[in-house]
Each structure stands twice: as structure tokens, then as C-alpha cells.
């Protein structure tokens, strides 16, 4: 690396990009990646494959919604229990409904309540006992997966109601699956919540500076606990949706979504230090991550000798490059 040369060079490259907001940048990147996919494999650019990518991104996006809230709330906020809550929720719905369409609302309600309760305990541990969120939610992940193991003894009985894949992952209207419509609705709801509600205003306030927020009358403890509870509930919702897609459950169903959910939030321009971010950024981030994954799969289908090893390396390098565009922190020099 040539240090004196590289600094002005990166500045020249990033300065026009800096004028764009990170979410917009991520969205443009997603479109570019999609077109790049067409260069590698002409079949990649089609309405059907675009729909499929958005459908896959929707599951990640829904799971990352709660993560977005927790990260915006600041105080090193992060929810590492999201993955196991996804698994737990899918298992609950799988078992409660046992294939019965009429039981779906009951299953969903129970899953959401359990998710919210887990999030509530996370929030209480963080705020009332003062355990760092990373550790608290990591411990909670262990407790949740331990509970799943004890209760099920590894024996996952149940059945997916047939209405779920029909409403969630199969084409519903104009060939677009229900989960995509739902995701956009959730995007609207999250925008209202973050930008047009008292909750959102207070959330950004505690994310920027908890002391200042407390002094101006925000009940910080209550806000953080509510936010963790919401995160648990949204993860549970993600698990419900995922069941409609996978139609089966296994013990690590949600695990693969945990770190991508954090990465989607960061790629979407939300600061891990809190106080700044948006859900539509997370949505673009989820699209970008899903596209990278689909692209690598497409490349592997065409060039089979690119094994798992290269896929991992390319994924890592791409993530670092993405982060260097807009995952940057403030310079210590101010």
C-alpha cells in the first residue's frame, strides 16, 4: 500500500459518492450487482430472478428490522439472540399449528408473544442489571437454544399449514409472493415508526446521547426495554415468515440469518454506535447481501471449480469493500 498516494485517491473516488445517502448508494449498488449478474449469466436478469432475489431478501430484511431498532438505540445495542428467536418461533408455529390452517393465527400470536418476552428479558438484563447487550443477548441465545433442546429433545414434530407457503412464499399477486408485499408494508410501518412517531424521535434521541435524552425527559430504561422487546417480536415474525418458505424446521434454522442481519443494517448506513440510521437502508442492505450471495451461486454454477473456499473469500472481500464505502467511523482528529 502506498499511503501518501492512496489517501487523496480514495477521497477523489468517494467524494461524489458521499453526497448520496448510504441507503441510496446501497440501492444503486444492488441494481449494479443485479446487472453484473446478467454479464455472468444472461438468465440472471429476468423478472422471475429479480422476484426471487427480493423474496429471499425479504426474509433477511424482516429479521433485520428489529436489529435496526436495537442498533439505533445506541449504548452498544445489538441483538445476538435474533437467530435463535427465529428458530424458536418457526418451531412454535410448526408445532402449535401442526398443519392446521385455522391454528395459524394462534401460532403466530404465541410466537410473537414469546419473542417479545425474550426481548423484554434482554432489555431488562441490559438496563436493570447493566450487562452489555452483546453479552446479554449472546447468553440469551444460549438459553433459548438450550430450552429448545430440552423441550424437543431434538425431536421436531409438527407440520407446516399449507396456507403459509401459499400466502408467504408462492406467487400471490402478479407472480409476486406475499412476503414481498408484506416486506414493503413493514418498510412503510417502520418508516412511520422511526420518522413520524414519538417512539422514533425518542429512539434517535437515546441513540445519540442517553444522558441528554434522560435530562430532556425521555424514560431511557423503558425505551430500551421496549426496543429489545420489539426486536424479539420482529425476529419471531421473521421466523414465522421463514417457516412459510422452508416449510420445515431444524435446530439451526435461524442461525445463518444472525450476522447477515447485522451486516444488512450496517451496509444500509446505520451506525453501530447508534443514533443514526433508517430501515430503508437496512432493506437495501438486505438486497445487496442477498444479491452477492445469489451472484456467487450463479458464478459457481457457471464455473464449478470455484469452490466453497473462494465463495467465502469473495464474500468477505466484498463485505469489507462495502463497509469501507459507508461503514466508516468518525476520525479521531474530528
Amino acid at each position: 500500500m502506498n499511503a501518501p498516494l492512496s489517501r487523496p485517491l480514495t477521497q477523489r473516488i468517494t467524494s461524489p459518492l458521499r453526497r448520496l445517502s448510504p441507503p441510496a448508494l446501497a440501492l444503486i449498488l444492488a441494481i449494479l450487482l443485479f446487472l453484473l449478474g446478467g454479464v455472468i449469466n444472461p438468465n440472471f436478469v429476468s423478472i422471475a430472478s429479480a422476484t426471487n432475489v427480493i423474496r429471499l431478501a425479504a426474509f433477511l430484511g424482516i429479521i433485520a428490522a428489529g436489529q435496526t431498532l436495537v442498533i439505533i438505540s445506541g449504548g452498544e445495542g445489538i441483538d445476538l439472540s435474533a437467530g435463535t428467536v427465529v428458530t424458536l418461533s418457526a418451531i412454535l408455529v410448526f408445532r402449535i399449528t401442526n398443519g392446521d390452517d385455522a391454528m395459524v393465527p394462534v401460532g403466530l400470536a404465541v410466537a410473537l408473544a414469546v419473542g417479545a418476552a425474550i426481548g423484554f428479558i434482554n432489555g431488562a438484563g441490559v438496563m436493570l442489571v447493566g450487562i452489555p447487550p452483546l453479552v446479554m443477548t449472546l447468553g440469551m441465545a444460549g438459553v433459548v437454544s438450550g430450552t429448545i433442546l430440552i423441550v424437543t429433545q431434538g425431536n421436531l414434530i409438527g407440520k407446516t399449514p399449507e396456507v403459509m407457503p401459499r400466502l408467504i412464499s408462492d406467487p400471490l399477486l402478479f407472480g409476486v409472493p406475499g412476503v414481498v408485499f408484506f416486506w414493503f408494508l413493514l418498510g412503510g410501518a417502520m418508516w412511520l415508526l422511526l420518522e413520524r412517531s414519538g417512539y422514533g424521535r425518542r429512539l434517535f434521541a437515546i441513540g445519540v446521547n442517553r444522558t441528554a435524552a434522560r435530562l430532556s425527559g425521555v424514560r431511557v430504561q423503558r425505551m430500551v426495554i421496549i426496543t429489545f422487546a420489539l426486536s424479539g417480536m420482529l425476529s419471531a415474525l421473521g421466523g414465522f415468515m421463514l417457516l412459510g418458505f422452508s416449510q420445515t424446521v431444524f435446530l439451526n434454522l435461524g442461525d445463518t440469518y444472525l450476522f447477515p442481519s447485522i451486516a444488512a443494517v450496517v451496509v444500509g448506513g446505520t451506525l453501530l454506535s447508534g443514533g443514526k440510521g433508517s430501515y430503508w437502508g437496512t432493506m437495501s442492505g438486505a438486497l445487496v447481501l442477498t444479491l452477492i450471495d445469489s451472484l456467487l451461486t450463479a458464478v459457481r454454477a457457471r464455473v464449478p471449480e470455484i469452490g466453497e473456499a473462494y465463495k467465502l473469500i469473495i464474500l468477505g472481500v466484498t463485505l469489507v469493500i462495502l463497509l469501507s464505502f459507508y461503514g466508516r467511523q468518525r476520525n479521531v482528529r474530528g
Binding site: G130, M140, A263, L312, I313, L315, V320
Partner: protein, 322 residues
């Protein structure tokens, strides 16, 4: 007056709570396994603890410096792959030394990548080191696509030996602690704590903040490579999944040891105690013949209760301060 003294002791020795936990864990473990304190049992336990102990030294330094290294486990996997590929039962001691040096080089290189990204490109440590962990795991997979390896017997017997009556691994632990005590009192040690505590104030007092941050990742990479050495010698094999569980365990051990994730406080000794506590918890669970389906939950609950401890100590410290 006593309050002030107590406060100073607690803040200077953040591992006191971990020490208390350790005593409890040892007592419980001793009830279930009465030969726990015999040399050969200690030796066997520390052979299994040492890889994580070496790893948490680096992780502690990164966390004290205000960062976190989620690629530590992946660097262990990488080192494990290199060692298992290069060292065979026919290797001469020169070849073994070369393999170890190469592994350390790879670890340092991985740390340099992390350090450049976090300190100079100012990327957020959690996601960046998570992203680089893919790269390191990928490279490890390239080197060693499937599990295998055939470790030289000489290295294994050194690892299992008990020079001077104490296990070799225990000597290593004492060496690590001694190194830490020296480093902590140097100027670099002070820079490290200052950088992790308030990097802006540190910058204004002329501390090379970015360089210190960069160096923490370099240490973490080096110690991850050494942890890979301990792991490979102990298990005798290489596996592309060998480091997977180590990353999160290293973070848990650091927090158990009383180091705060926000940086600027804590130490290596506590983290090492944290590893021993985690190991003893696993021992207790297996000796208490807990139902195998219940093991995950029991260990998670014990760890959560152990983690609440430092929080309570902090609350107590505040109460004393008042």
C-alpha cells in the same frame, strides 16, 4: 476511608469477581471430582484450556483498546490448517520450527488486515472482523479442504510434559501473565488503556491512537496463531471448523474476567480466569451427569449468572462511591 481503599482495589483489580467465581467453581468441581487438584488432572484440564487461554490474551488487548476481534476463531482455523498441512510425524525440528513461524506470520498478516481496516480505514470493528473472518476461513479451506493431520510426536510429548513438577501448559499460562504484567506497566500499556478509554482525549495528549488500535489487532492475530499451535498440538489434527466456537467463547471469557466491552479497562489475568471458569463449568456439567439434552441450557444459565456478577460489582462500586 475504607470505602476509598475498597474502591481503589476493585477498580485496579477488575478480576476480583472472577477470582471469587473461580473459587466457587473449583469447590463445586472438587465435590464432584475429588482428584481435580492432582497434577495429572490439572495437566489434562490445562491442555484443553490452553488454546482459548492464549486466544483471550489477544482478544483482551483488542477489547481494552476499544475494539473487538470476531475473526480470532477464523485465524485459529487458518493457523490450524497451515500447521496440520506442514507438520507430519516425519518432520524434522527445523521443519516444525519453520511451520510454526509461517503460522505466526499468517496470524500477524491477518491481524494487519484487521488493523488496517479498523484503525486506518476506520471501519466498525464488529462487522469488519466478522467480514474478514470469511476471508480467513476461506483461505483455511483452500489449504486444508477436509479434516486431517498427523502431528509430530515430539511436539505432542512436550505439550504433555511436566517440567519442574508443574504441567508445561501451566508454565505457559504463567509466562503469558508475566508478559502481560510487564507490558501493562510500559508506556505502550498506558497508551493502550488511554486509547480504549477516551480515544479523543488520548489523541490530544499525543498518543498515536490509530497506531495503538492497529497494533491490538496485530497482537490478536499473533496470539490466535499461537492458540492454533496449542490447539493443533493438543488435538493432533486439523479441521476447517476448528476455530468456530472459539471466537464467542473468547469474548465471553473476557467479559467474565471483568473487562468491559467498551474498552479502556480490564486485563488479561481476569480473561484467563474467565477461560478456566468456563472450562470448569463444562467439567461440572459433565461430572454432575446432567441430562445431555439439558447441558446447553444449564451451561448457558450458569454463564449468564456469572456474567451478571461484574455488573453487580460495578453497582456495588457505585454504592461505595456515594
Amino acid at each position: 476511608m475504607t470505602g476509598l481503599v475498597l474502591r481503589r482495589i476493585i477498580s485496579r483489580h477488575s478480576y476480583l469477581f472472577a477470582l471469587l467465581l473461580l473459587v466457587v467453581a473449583v469447590l463445586v468441581n472438587l465435590r464432584l471430582q475429588d482428584n481435580l487438584l492432582e497434577v495429572n488432572v490439572i495437566s489434562r484440564n490445562f491442555r484443553n484450556f490452553l488454546p482459548l487461554i492464549v486466544l483471550v490474551v489477544g482478544q483482551s488487548v483488542v477489547i481494552i483498546g476499544g475494539g473487538i476481534d470476531l475473526s480470532a476463531g477464523a485465524i485459529v482455523t487458518l493457523g490450524n490448517a497451515i500447521l496440520a498441512t506442514l507438520i507430519t510425524s516425519e518432520s524434522s525440528s527445523g521443519q516444525i520450527l519453520l511451520a510454526i513461524l509461517l503460522t505466526c506470520g499468517a496470524g500477524v498478516l491477518a491481524g494487519v488486515v484487521n488493523g488496517l481496516c479498523v484503525a486506518y480505514l476506520r471501519l466498525q470493528p464488529i462487522v469488519t472482523t466478522y467480514a474478514t473472518s470469511f476471508i480467513f476461513t476461506g483461505v483455511a479451506l483452500l489449504i486444508l479442504p477436509r479434516p486431517g493431520g498427523d502431528m509430530a510426536a515430539a511436539v505432542r510429548s512436550l505439550y504433555r510434559s511436566t517440567p519442574g513438577g508443574a504441567p508445561f501448559t501451566l508454565w505457559m499460562v504463567f509466562t503469558l501473565i508475566a508478559i502481560w504484567l510487564v507490558v501493562r506497566s510500559t508506556r505502550y500499556g498506558q497508551f493502550l488503556f488511554a486509547t480504549g478509554g477516551k480515544s479523543e482525549s488520548a489523541y490530544f495528549t499525543g498518543i498515536p491512537v490509530n497506531f495503538v488500535k492497529f497494533s491490538t489487532y496485530l497482537w490478536s492475530g499473533l496470539f490466535a496463531a499461537l492458540a492454533a499451535l496449542a490447539l493443533t498440538v493438543n488435538t493432533g489434527t486439523g479441521s476447517p471448523r476448528s476455530g468456530d466456537l472459539l471466537t464467542l467463547n473468547s469474548v465471553v471469557a473476557v467479559v467474565l474476567g471483568g473487562t468491559r466491552l467498551s474498552g479502556g479497562q480490564g486485563g488479561v489475568i481476569g480473561s484467563i480466569l474467565g477461560v478456566v471458569i468456563l472450562g470448569l463449568i463444562a467439567n461440572i456439567i459433565s461430572f454432575a451427569s446432567v441430562d445431555s439434552w439439558a447441558q446447553t441450557l444449564v451451561s448457558a444459565l450458569i454463564i449468564i449468572f456469572a456474567l451478571i456478577g461484574p455488573g453487580l460489582v460495578r453497582l456495588a462500586r457505585k454504592a461505595v462511591a456515594r
